[in-house]
Amino acid sequence: MNRLTTWFSAGLLALSLALAAPVHAQQPLKIGFGMSLTGPLAGNGKAALIAMQIWAEDVNAKGGILGRKVELVYYDDQTNPSTVPSIYNKLLDVDKVDLLVSGYGTNVIAPAMPIVMQRNMAFMGLFGLNVNSKFNYDRYFQIMPAGPEPAIGWTQGFFDTAMALAPKPQTIALVGADAEYPALALEGARAQAKRTGLKVVYDKTYPPNTVDFSPILRAIQATNPDLVFVASYPPDSAGMVRAANEVGLKTRMFGGGMVGPQFAALKTQLGPLLNGIVNYETFAPDVAGKFPFLDQFLAKYQGRAVKEGVDPLGFYLPPYAYAMMQVLEQSIKAVGALDQAKLADYMHTYEFDTFVGKVRFAKNGEWAVPRMLTVQYHGIAGNDLEQWMKPGHVTVLAPASYKTGAIMAPYHDNKK
């Protein structure tokens, strides 16, 4: 009998502890997303994930949000859009996350939109291109600084810089890959050419798996354009730059919309071949003063990135992935709750102070004012990474408030 009483008491104690536990222990605040950890965009996805993990650690070190520790719940979307619906449904229905953010890029943001909209969730997007133009969802926000009209905002700096050249350029060649981003960038470039009165002397696309770009560059050279605007993904960007050097391309400005030179891999691979090229960046050490506190983040990021084997510079995407989470954090703290409608209202109304500067959202959820940096590379010698970490090799040409110097034109005379 005595033994039975002991067992009964122990059982009762265990039961009461189990019931009491949820009351005393605060549930973590779960933020869910899919991220490309394998597949073609895994390099960017992993870099963004490191940034988001650093943010979660920083926030938890300060006691979390609303007194709750932050927990990131994420799955590998394999850079495959068809995995996205089931990932986001699982996050909501099985993992019961409190908030959602997107993975990297348009392809994986768009498939999540119907689910997010059905649940009326506020949704932060990471580098999606004009995703909300069709959905018109008033709780969608996007952290890439391309502005309310991304196609225009993306190309604005290149064309503003070009039209300030003396004498004014008359002709332009447009070339890009048959893929999603290049198509949008070329669309923007065509609109800018029309606006500025430039005559388009070459406007062609190439298949995404093209490896030899010399014939393309020779065909462009035959039209003798004043400007050459290129919209390409990293492998083609490398091919284009190499081909331009092989062919000895003669033009006043070359570049514009090449994805790739923003990353350490291409910066070190191409090295001096990048000299003279005008392209876009989202950060440059030359304007570090305009990004207060970013150096603290980059120091943490760069230490981890080397171990994880991802972009060791982390200038392009990681600061914005961190900033995306800062927007969410500041909104929740200001609203004091996880009410999705109030969070979205707050994001629409107020300006955010983030590691990438002040961020204010337009009605469609994009940045209210575009802030893509148009830069020119110069003085690059050798292929070491160190030179890219210091100011002096990247002149910011636009926007005006970030300008650090004047363009050196023509391209073919400034390849050093």
């Binding site: 950890l37 068809s82 990932i87 699982k90 229905d93 348009t106 498939p111 890959a177 048959d178």
Partner: protein, 315 residues
């Protein structure tokens, strides 16, 4: 069991599954099941030409994409109801299948396989340069806000349509297998010249097989634009469709309609589970190892292994 009885049973079970699923509150089930069902149709369809007839088709993604892009085209042009888009996509892919059937006149074995791969590249290039369906930028296909039949969400409708289409694909595959057509296709697979000499109408049967196979693969793609809401060429022509359509019948067994079903359920479910449990580069490795193991240990697939086991027991 006669084909009619099987068809009645298959559609009754499909309807029962659709009705029973209404009580599942979890949307994750519907999206994960949608993907697995999509692979069942693709594997079953591939097996009609690849397994029954012995013509290996590496262009499954092209047929799938034809189904998907016919929906995109119709959505933009006429905005018809979903069943019309499913029917149109199935017919369009069937016509492409017929064209592929004519390829078998001159090509066999590895040459045919490469030709189907090339077909996929040709169609990809065509779609990339066709601006009306979004071209390289892709197209947005918005899910309607009103969902019919009292369903809560549009994914429930897509899932229900997929269940019924899966039943149809299985009924068609079984009917072909158990009829004179199936026997003719088996003869072509074993020795086409001998089959021709024995009076098997090889061309007609191959055309039929390629058309039905293509049509069913296209059918699997017709609801895909609504599932994703955004279709761009690299998603619709994704290599995973071509690889899975071959791997699943290989694992399940290519000699009967049950093989692709088992292979697709097994591999599709493993992929879904691994994706949300391991969630790293390891998931690709695990699926790869599983494939190698099955191909090595059970070269005739699970059904082949089961048949061999049965034969041993009888002895």
């Amino acid at each position: 069991m006669s084909n009619r009885t099987f068809a009645a049973a298959a559609f009754t079970i499909a309807l029962a599954i659709v009705v029973a699923s209404r009580f599942i509150p979890n949307d994750y089930f519907f999206s994960a099941a949608y993907t697995v069902l999509q692979f069942i149709i693709l594997a079953t369809a591939w097996n009609i030409l690849g397994g029954y007839t012995g013509y290996v088709n590496f262009g499954s993604a092209a047929f799938f994409a034809v189904g998907a892009y016919s929906t995109v085209f119709l959505y933009k042009a006429l905005h018809p109801p979903l069943p019309v888009m499913i029917l149109a996509g199935t017919l369009a892919a069937g016509v492409l299948g017929l064209a592929v059937g004519y390829l078998t006149l001159r090509m066999r074995g590895v040459f045919f396989a490469i030709a189907t791969l090339a077909l996929s590249v040709v169609l990809y290039t065509f779609v990339v340069n066709w601006d009306y369906v979004g071209g390289a930028r892709g197209a947005y296909i918005l899910q309607p806000r009103e969902v019919p039949f009292g369903l809560r969400r549009y994914i429930h409708l897509l899932y229900s349509a997929m269940v019924l289409m899966t039943a149809l694909a299985l009924v068609v595959a079984r009917a072909i297998e158990t009829s004179f057509i199936g026997r003719g296709l088996a003869a072509i697979r074993d020795d086409e010249l001998a089959a021709e000499c024995a009076g098997v109408p090889t061309l007609r049967l191959k055309l039929f097989s390629a058309t039905v196979s293509g049509a069913l693969m296209g059918m699997a793609g017709t609801t895909f634009p609504f599932y994703l809401s955004y279709v761009e060429p690299s998603a619709a022509f994704n290599l995973s469709y071509a690889v899975n359509s071959i791997a699943m019948p290989l694992i399940g067994g290519m000699m009967s309609w049950v093989g692709p079903l088992i292979g697709a359920v097994l591999l599709g479910t493993v992929q879904q589970v691994v994706q949300v449990t391991i969630s790293s580069a390891w998931n690709l490795l695990i699926v790869g190892v599983l494939l190698v193991l099955f191909v090595t240990l059970a070269p005739n697939g699970i059904m082949g292994w089961v048949d061999a086991w049965r034969r041993r027991r009888k002895r």
